[in-house]
C-alpha cells in the first residue's frame, strides 16, 4: 500500500526523470522501509519516515523540473551545450508568445480579463478587510488598551458605562493598569467666531493620554494637577487648531470662549491622531479635564453609569490577571455600596469595540470573492486546456522536428507567464479602482473605512495568484499532451484530443464545478437582493416624504420652562415659513437607529414584567411637541394627540402605540390608565394615557414595531431636539429657511444636521443596499465568467464532434434531433454542477443570516429562481456552439478528414 502511494507521488517528477529513475526510487523506498522495520515500530516512526519522504519530494521535485526545463536531456535530438537557458532565447520566446496571443485576440482577451477580474476582486476585498480588520488601531501597543466598565453574562459583547464614584474607586484600588481613564463626550458651542460653531468636547480623566499612548504634538496633556485643580485647560485636535485657530503657532496659552465657559489651550494633538471611534462616535475637537463636569449631583451618584472607561494594562500583566483583580474589587464595591446592585466590572479589548461585528459584515464578501476567484481560475484553466488541445498538433510537430521536451515545456510556461502577467497588471489596476469605489460607496456601517488604502500585501497576493496560475496552467497542457503519443497527435490532433473519454470527463468536471460555484454565489446575491427589495417595500407607519429637519441644542438657562418656550417659539416660526404645512419637534428622529427607554409602573393592572422584576416593564419613548403625529401622518386611533393645553402645569399625559396596548392592556381600554416612571425616571408624578397611535417603525425599517410611549416636550423637556417641517414640493432651500428661523429666535444656538427625512431613510438602508449591490455585482461577474467557460469549452467539444454529427446526418438523423442530443450532453455536467451547488449553498448561505430580511437564508423561492436562471443561461451559452456544430454540411466535414 505504502509503495503504491509513493508511486503516485512520483508523478510529480518530470517524465524523463521518472522514466530513468522511477524504479530506483521505489526500490530505495522499499529498502528503507524494510530496514526500519527491524528496529522500533509504531506510528511515530512511520510518521518520521513519511516526513523524510515528503521533505525529499518537496526538495527534489522543483529541482528536477528546473533541470528538465533548463537542460536538454542527453537522449533527445538536441546536441550538448544547447541546454542552458539563454536570455536571448527567453526574449524570443516572449515574442513568440505575444505573437501567438495576437493571433487569438478573443481567447487572449477572455483569459486576461478573467484572471484580472478575479485577482482584482480578491485583492480589493483583501485590502478593505486588511485595513479595517487586520490592521490594528494606530496607537502604540494597542493590544494593551482595553475598555473597562460594567459587564454582564447575558450580553458578553457589551461593556456598560461607569459612574464617577466607581471610576474613582477602581482607579485608586487597581494595580493591573498603567493608566486608567474615563471620559464623556458632550456637545459645546464655540463662541469666538463670526458664527457660533457646535463641536464635540471630550471630558477626560487625567490619564487619558497615557492610556491611549499618544501625547500632544505641541504643549502637554491634561495633568494630575490640572485635574485636581479643575483647571479650565484644553488640548486641541489638529483640525480645530488649523481651522478654528488658523494654525496659530503661539496657540499655547491662548484662551477661547465656549458656551461652557472660557478655556486655555495647553496642547495640540498630532495630525494623524484619531480618537477611538467606538467610544466617541466621531471626532472630538478638544479634550478637557473631566473634573470640570458641571453636574455635581450626577458625579456623586454611584449607581448611574455615564462614563466610558479605558485602561492600558501595565507591562507584563495579562488580561486574565486584570479580570481577576476586577472580580475581587467588584465584590468589594457591591458589599460597601449595596445600591450598585449586581454591578460587575470587566475589560474588553479596545479593538473589538471599534470594529464591532465586522467579521459578520465581511464574511459573506470574503466568501463571495473566494468563489469568484475560484471560478476565474477554473475558467482560465478551461480556456488554456482547450487551447492546449488545439495546439497538440503544433506541439507534436515541434517535437518531431527536434524541439526537446524541456524546450516545449519552457515555451508553455513562458506563454502562460505572459498571460498571467497581463492578468496581474489588469488585476492591480482593478484593485486601485475597486478600493476607491468601495470607499466611495461606504455603506456607513463599516468603521474606519476612510482609512482604507490599497495594501502592499494585497498586491503581493495578486502577484502570488498570478504566479501560481502561470505555473500550474502552464504545465497542465504539457501534462495533458502526455496522454496521447506523438504519433497520435500528428495523425489527427483534432480527433485524438477531443473525443477521449478522459479529457471529456475533465471538461465535464470543470463545467460542473463552475456551475456549482456560480450557483452558490448567485443564490447568496439573490437572497440579499430579495431582502433589500422587501426592505424598500416595508410600510414604516409614517410618511417621511416632504419632511425636513434641523437639530438644535436647547440653551440651558437653568429652567425647563424657558427651554420649552424656546422650542415652542422655533416650531411656531418654522410653521410660518411659506409652504410649510405642518411643524413640530422630537428628540428621536424616525429610522435614526437610536432609542431611549423608560420603565413605567402601570397602576391597577397586571402586565408582563422583565424577568428580574427589578425595573418592571421597559419601553421605548420619545419626547415630541403637539403636531408631531400630524407632521409624520401617524394616525391617532383612539383618544387624542397632544395639544398646547398640555403644559408644565397641567396633569401629565402620555400617548402610547398599539404595540404597547397589545402588550400591556390586551382588551382593556388604555385611555385614562395611569402610570409612574419611578425615582430615576424622566419625570416624577402620575401620567395618564390620553391617546393611542398606530405603530410606526421609529427605530429602523427592519425592526418590527415595539411598545412605545410618547411624552410631550412641555412636560419632559430635553436638551436636544429635532425641528421638523412638512413642506410638499419643497427643495433644499427650505432647510436654509429653517436655519434662519432658528437664528431669528436665538442667535447663539447653531442649528445642525439640516436634512430631509428621506436622506435618513436612505441612510438607514444604505448598508443593505451596499451589500446587495456589491454581492449582486460579484455574482453577475461570476455568472458571466462561468457562462464564458461553458461557451468556450463546449464550442471546442462540439466542434470536435462535428464529424460524428456529419456522419449521423448522412445516416438520416434530423438536425433537431442532433441539436437535442448535443444540448442534452452539454447540460449533463451543468445539471450535476447545479445540484452540487444547491448542496453547498444550503449550509453556506447561513453566513447571511443577519443580512436577510423577512426570508430564511435557505429561501426556496430564491434558490428555485436562481437555479432556473442559471440553467437557462447555460442552455443559451451552449446553444450557439451546438447550432454551429450541427449545421455543418456532412460531406464537407467528411472531406476535411
Amino acid at each position: 500500500m505504502a509503495t503504491r502511494i509513493y508511486r503516485v507521488l512520483l508523478l510529480a517528477y518530470p517524465r524523463a526523470f521518472r522514466e530513468a529513475h522511477g524504479d530506483d526510487l521505489v526500490r530505495w523506498f522499499e529498502d528503507a522501509r524494510r530496514d526500519g522495520r527491524g528496529s522500533r515500530r509504531g506510528a511515530g516512526r512511520e510518521l518520521a519516515f513519511w516526513g523524510r519522504i515528503l521533505t525529499d519530494l518537496a526538495r527534489s521535485v522543483p529541482r528536477e523540473h528546473w533541470t528538465a526545463i533548463t537542460m536538454t536531456p542527453s537522449h533527445t535530438t538536441m546536441g550538448r551545450g544547447e541546454g542552458r537557458m539563454k536570455l536571448r532565447d527567453l526574449g524570443a520566446e516572449v515574442r513568440i508568445a505575444l505573437r501567438g496571443y495576437a493571433r487569438r485576440p478573443l481567447f487572449t482577451l477572455l483569459a486576461v480579463m478573467t484572471l484580472g477580474i478575479g485577482i482584482g476582486a480578491a485583492s480589493t476585498i483583501y485590502s478593505v478587510v486588511d485595513s479595517v480588520l487586520l490592521n490594528p488601531l494606530p496607537y502604540p501597543e494597542v493590544d494593551r488598551v482595553y475598555r473597562i466598565g460594567g459587564v454582564s453574562e447575558e450580553s458578553p459583547d457589551r461593556i456598560y458605562a461607569m459612574s464617577y464614584p466607581n471610576f474613582i474607586t477602581l482607579q485608586e484600588q487597581t494595580t493591573s493598569f498603567e493608566a486608567f481613564t474615563a471620559s464623556r463626550v458632550t456637545r459645546i458651542t464655540l463662541l469666538d467666531g463670526d458664527v457660533p460653531e457646535s463641536h464635540l468636547m471630550a471630558m477626560v480623566g487625567d490619564e487619558f493620554f497615557a492610556a491611549i499612548g499618544v501625547q500632544p504634538a505641541m504643549g502637554r496633556g491634561v495633568s494630575r494637577e490640572d485635574y485636581d485643580a479643575q483647571a479650565s485647560v484644553a488640548v486641541l485636535s489638529h483640525d480645530l487648531w488649523t481651522v478654528y485657530f488658523g494654525g496659530d503657532p503661539d496657540v499655547l496659552g491662548r484662551s477661547f470662549t465656549t458656551s461652557g465657559g472660557p478655556f486655555t489651550v495647553i496642547g495640540v494633538m498630532p495630525e494623524d491622531f484619531i480618537p477611538p471611534a467606538g467610544i466617541y462616535q466621531g471626532g472630538s475637537s478638544f479634550w478637557v479635564p473631566l473634573s470640570l463636569w458641571p453636574d455635581t449631583e450626577m458625579m456623586g451618584r454611584r449607581r448611574s453609569g455615564w462614563l466610558a472607561g479605558m485602561v492600558r494594562l501595565a507591562p507584563g500583566v495579562t488580561p486574565e490577571v486584570a479580570r481577576a483583580e476586577l472580580d475581587a474589587l467588584s465584590a468589594g464595591i457591591r458589599e460597601s455600596y449595596p445600591e450598585v446592585g449586581e454591578r460587575h466590572f470587566g475589560i474588553h479589548p479596545l479593538i473589538d469595540h471599534t470594529v464591532g461585528s465586522i467579521d459578520e459584515t465581511f464574511l459573506p464578501l470574503i466568501g463571495a470573492v473566494a468563489l469568484l476567484l475560484l471560478i476565474a481560475c477554473v475558467n482560465v484553466a478551461n480556456l488554456l486546456l482547450v487551447r492546449a488541445s488545439e495546439r497538440a498538433r503544433e506541439l507534436g510537430v515541434r517535437a518531431a522536428i527536434g524541439a526537446g521536451r524541456g524546450r516545449i515545456v519552457r515555451q508553455l510556461v513562458v506563454e502562460s507567464s505572459v498571460l498571467a502577467a497581463g492578468g496581474v497588471l489588469l488585476g492591480i489596476a482593478l484593485t486601485y479602482l475597486g478600493t476607491d469605489l468601495f470607499v466611495a460607496l461606504n455603506p456607513g456601517d463599516v468603521p474606519r473605512l476612510d482609512e482604507v488604502a490599497v495594501q502592499g500585501s494585497a498586491l503581493l497576493l495578486a502577484g502570488a495568484i498570478g504566479a501560481i496560475t502561470a505555473l500550474v496552467f502552464g504545465l497542465a497542457p504539457a501534462l495533458l499532451s502526455q496522454t496521447g503519443s506523438l504519433n497520435d497527435q500528428l495523425r489527427g490532433g483534432s480527433r485524438a484530443a477531443g473525443g477521449g473519454r478522459r479529457t471529456g470527463r475533465l471538461w465535464g468536471g470543470l463545467i460542473a464545478v463552475e456551475a456549482a460555484l456560480a450557483l452558490v454565489l448567485v443564490v447568496g446575491a439573490g437572497l440579499l437582493i430579495n431582502s433589500f427589495a422587501r426592505m424598500t417595500r416595508v410600510e414604516p407607519g409614517f410618511e417621511l416624504s416632504d419632511v425636513y429637519s434641523v437639530a438644535v441644542s436647547i440653551p440651558d438657562d437653568g429652567d425647563a420652562v424657558s427651554g420649552h418656550a424656546f422650542v415652542q417659539e422655533v416650531v411656531r416660526t418654522v410653521r410660518d415659513i411659506p409652504g410649510v404645512t405642518a411643524a413640530s419637534a422630537t428628540n428621536v428622529l424616525p429610522l435614526s437607529g437610536s432609542a431611549s427607554y423608560q420603565g413605567p409602573h402601570f397602576d391597577g393592572i397586571e402586565y408582563p414584567r422583565d424577568e428580574d422584576g427589578s425595573d418592571g416593564y421597559s419601553t421605548r419613548y420619545q419626547r415630541v411637541t403637539p403636531g408631531y403625529f400630524e407632521t409624520l401622518e401617524i394616525p391617532v386611533l383612539r383618544g387624542r394627540a397632544f395639544d398646547d393645553g398640555d403644559d408644565a402645569n397641567s396633569p401629565r399625559v402620555a400617548v402610547v402605540n398599539e404595540a404597547l396596548v397589545r402588550d400591556v392592556f390586551g382588551d382593556l381600554d388604555p385611555i385614562g390608565a395611569t402610570f409612574t416612571l419611578g425615582p430615576n425616571g424622566l419625570a416624577q408624578g402620575q401620567f395618564s394615557i390620553v391617546g393611542v397611535v398606530a405603530d410606526a417603525r421609529s427605530y429602523s425599517l427592519t425592526e418590527a414595531p415595539v411598545p412605545e410611549m410618547y411624552f410631550t416636550h412641555a412636560q419632559t423637556t430635553s436638551g436636544f431636539m429635532y425641528i421638523l417641517a412638512e413642506s410638499p414640493n419643497a427643495d433644499r432651500s427650505i432647510l436654509e429657511a429653517m436655519r434662519s428661523a432658528v437664528a431669528a429666535v436665538r442667535g447663539d444656538v447653531p442649528p445642525r444636521l439640516p436634512r430631509s427625512l428621506e436622506e435618513y431613510r436612505s441612510t438607514s438602508i444604505a448598508g443593505p443596499r451596499f451589500y446587495a449591490s456589491l454581492l449582486g455585482a460579484l455574482a453577475a461577474i461570476a455568472l458571466a465568467l462561468a457562462l464564458v467557460g461553458v461557451y468556450g469549452t463546449l464550442s471546442y467539444v462540439f466542434e470536435r464532434r462535428a464529424r460524428e454529427m456529419g456522419l449521423r446526418k448522412a445516416l438520416g438523423a434530423t438536425r433537431e434531433s442532433l441539436l437535442r442530443y448535443m444540448l442534452a450532453r452539454g447540460m449533463r455536467p451543468v445539471l450535476v454542477g447545479v445540484a452540487l451547488g444547491i448542496l453547498i449553498a444550503l449550509p453556506a448561505t447561513r453566513i447571511l443570516e443577519s443580512f436577510v430580511f423577512e426570508i430564511e437564508p435557505t429561501d426556496p423561492a430564491t434558490i428555485a429562481v436562481t437555479t432556473i436562471a442559471i440553467l437557462g443561461a447555460a442552455l443559451l451559452a451552449m446553444l450557439i456552439p451546438a447550432r454551429r456544430a450541427t449545421s455543418r454540411d456532412p460531406m464537407q466535414v467528411l472531406r476535411e478528414e
Binding site: D24, R27, W28, D31, A32, D35, R52, T67, M71, G83
Partner: protein
C-alpha cells in the same frame, strides 16, 4: 551542472557520494546509507535528492553505471550499481586535498583549538 568544473568546490552531497563509491560499486540505497553513517546522520539524502544527484554526477562524468557482473549482490539484475570514473576519482582526490588544506589552515590559526 554541465560537465564537471574542476575549479569549483563540490557540494557535500556530491563529495560524500564520491567518498561512498571510493571503495567499490554500490547501489543507490547503499550509497545513501553509507553517506548517512559516514556523516553520523548529518547528511541524509532522500530518494529524489539521491537520484537527482546521481543523474547530474553521471552527466558530469564523475560516475557511471557499473556492469552487473562487477557486483556480487543477489539482486544485481534488478538494481542499478554505480562506480567512480577516473574523473570522479580525480575530483574526489582534488576535493579532499582542498579540504585538507583548509583544515591545515584552520589548525595553524588555532581555530580548532587542539592544533
Amino acid at each position: 551542472m554541465g560537465r564537471h568544473d574542476p575549479d569549483k568546490p563540490l557540494t557535500p552531497a556530491v563529495y560524500h557520494t564520491l567518498l561512498a563509491l571510493a571503495e567499490g560499486p554500490l547501489h543507490g540505497y547503499a550509497i545513501s546509507k553509507d553517506v548517512e553513517e559516514a556523516t553520523e546522520g548529518q547528511l541524509r539524502m532522500g530518494p529524489g535528492t539521491l537520484y537527482g544527484t546521481l543523474q547530474r554526477m553521471q552527466k558530469a562524468g564523475l560516475l557511471e553505471e557499473a556492469p552487473a557482473e562487477e557486483t556480487d549482490a543477489v539482486h544485481a539484475g534488478r538494481r542499478r550499481y554505480y562506480r567512480l570514473t577516473a574523473e570522479g576519482r580525480e575530483a574526489l582526490a582534488r576535493e579532499t586535498a582542498r579540504l585538507e588544506r583548509a583544515v591545515r589552515l584552520a589548525r595553524s590559526r588555532a581555530v580548532l583549538g587542539n592544533g
